[in-house]
Symmetry: C2
């Protein structure tokens, strides 16, 4: 037996999300079908982060086992061959220790939320960014974001369906930068609550518009109530950019 660690890129708009579901095509299913197609085996693929429908990944991490060991080049190339009509690709395959678990061994996850801040609607970036036509102040967003960094009860930024045991998480980084007409929000933590980054983006937008101050964002955090925060930003702008171990 061999355990394989995969680094996976996908366009989330082509899937119902990471996790296998009844109602559509999931990334997990696409990968499992590709593995079966080249190996004849039917292992489960475990992912580091269960991204929602429409959420993209530049470097999702997954793992699976094969009874008949094969080379990592074969795994990568054969999976990519069978994924050719699907917007998912294997960037890297490696053999790892059988103690490795893509989800439980992870020590950090990084996400970037991308906003296109301009008056004209999106064309080439449609489905790949959140269109916000109202002018946003990225510096004010960055400064306010710092009140969220650290160990907090993030109930205000947690989806009602969130399955996490606790709303307390430690946010290591939340940085906002402007890059031309784009605003990028970079978030890093050991783990996140369901919709946490999208809820950060929705509330930071209020700061960027001048509707909220950093104090308002702090009050929102301290309310520990989802109703206190801004909207959940659309999945289009969210990218899982890396997982550390």
């Amino acid at each position: 037996m061999a355990r394989y660690k995969l680094i996976i890129e996908y366009d989330g708009s082509g899937f119902v999300g990471w996790q296998r579901q009844e109602n559509g095509f999931a990334v997990q299913q696409a990968l499992e079908e590709a593995i079966e197609a080249f190996s004849g085996e039917t292992p489960r693929v475990f992912g580091a982060g269960r991204t929602d429908s429409g959420v993209h990944a530049l470097a999702q991490v997954g793992h699976f086992d094969l009874l008949r060991e094969t080379t990592t080049d074969t795994v990568r190339d054969a999976m990519n061959y069978h994924l050719r009509d699907v917007p998912a690709a294997i960037l890297q395959a490696r053999i790892v220790d059988e103690e490795f678990h893509s989800r439980f061994s992870a020590t950090g996850r990084s996400y970037t939320y991308r906003i296109t801040n301009r008056r004209a609607p999106l064309t080439i970036e449609k489905g790949r960014s959140w269109w916000v036509p109202v002018k946003l102040d990225a510096e004010a967003m960055h400064e306010a974001a710092q009140v969220l960094v650290g160990k907090h009860d993030f109930s205000s930024f947690r989806a009602t369906v969130c399955q996490s045991d606790s709303p307390v998480k430690t946010l290591n980084k939340l940085e906002v930068e402007r890059d031309g007409e784009h605003i990028l929000i970079h978030a890093q933590a050991r783990s996140f609550l369901h919709h946490q980054v999208r809820n950060f983006a929705g509330s930071l937008k209020k700061v960027g518009e001048g509707k909220w101050t950093a104090e308002d964002l702090k009050a929102c955090l301290e309310a520990r109530d989802r109703r206190a925060a801004g909207q959940t930003a659309p999945p289009d702008g969210l990218y899982l950019t890396g997982v550390s171990y």
Copy 2:
């Protein structure tokens, strides 16, 4: 009467190209329908460059006339409203002198050709870049590209269907740079032959792979024969990035 100059962005994969055709939906048609929808008038829209099917624009320029003058904000916002289900958007609208012609007044056109140079197939960038899995040497491509700069007979890089009066053009700039896993080819000239930039990209790929030297590229140029050059690179990677007047 007022003449409007538009700066237009579009995702070329949603169109049969710039120019109105029998066999599908063209950018020109989309814009003309949007103008008619808000103004009731049916002017022709003239474009600076007749991009092919699949070719994108970050800043195409067009112009049209309205009998009943309206504000440029109205033109931009009303057109974007009517283009909401179409992957084209008006970035800017301005009133210009009636001597202005988007095509004939243009003094320069800039294109960027984008290659994704990695082993894994494309997912998020599918249709937006040319996937080249073989490792390319961007520096060698840049050096060789300089033999094409200047005034030359570019018959070797001209599509057979090209309607230009002469194959002689002056190429002002042809720069190749690597940006992570991407290779960008920037081309600037007063005007280009049909498929010229895509044919440059196809031949520069041969240099990047080490199959051609700069000397081979020079010989190809001097052959003045389309059969001497490399393949026509796919439209996916080509972006019209600007037009100068």
